[in-house]
Symmetry: C2
């Protein structure tokens, strides 16, 4: 390992891409996007970076989490409500990316629009486990 | 359980682990589990395989999707309702796995319990795009 990984290509503009989103108290909207990759990833990484940045500029955007394997990926984006999530779907540049996704990158995908009603983190669990058992079961 | 668990290493019992779940018409419950890996994966793969199998035997289980990178993972499990999802959280063997996850495998994680109100797949989008535009915006 040299000094740092000053990776020339992936100058990632997002300091924390796809890690755990810091969302507010529920309720809020989650859009769960599960995809099977076609095997043709030409231009995909560039588009993904661009779309995450564009999404983050939209009204109602709360954050996103994204994990990808060779064959499949899951991206969850969080929004204040269904209206802002739906508005993002209609943003012009995003429409183009969706169409290209359909045509080129994805063998299949599913989109699920959901209302998050409860959430907790590792820190919450550790706290609840040291206190009363049963924890934050809602 | 008789002489199960004879799987020495990765004799994957799940023919389609973590691909796109075939869920029924909404509404149903999604449990979104996002994790940051600690770097210690000892026993993790075995536990994960075992937990997916055990989950699939629980009342109300509809399917799951799971994608993992070196540093992070997202698993979404689908349930008929919040009650069956909460019951799974309390299954004894799962509790042990959760505790071990907290102690060993995960640097951090978030769990979000959500109601899926709308969903569509690639096939739906292709259909709607060839028909009227605007599609299944809900």
């Amino acid at each position: 390992m040299g000094d740092v990984d000053s990776s020339p290509v992936d100058a990632d503009p997002d300091p924390d891409p796809g890690r755990i989103a810091r969302t507010p108290e529920p309720p809020y909207t989650a859009v769960i996007f599960t995809s099977l990759h076609s095997g043709n990833a030409d231009g995909y990484a560039r588009m993904a970076t661009r779309m995450f940045r564009l999404a983050s500029e939209q009204p109602g955007y709360l954050g996103h989490e994204s994990v990808s394997e060779r064959e499949a990926g899951i991206t969850v984006s969080y929004w204040t409500d269904h209206t802002t999530a739906a508005a993002w779907k209609q943003v012009a540049e995003h429409l183009v990316a969706q169409q290209r996704g359909q045509d080129v990158w994805y063998a299949d995908y599913a989109v699920r629009i959901a209302t998050v009603e409860r959430d907790y983190t590792r820190a919450d669990s550790v706290t609840s486990n040291t206190g009363a058992s049963g924890g934050n079961q809602g």
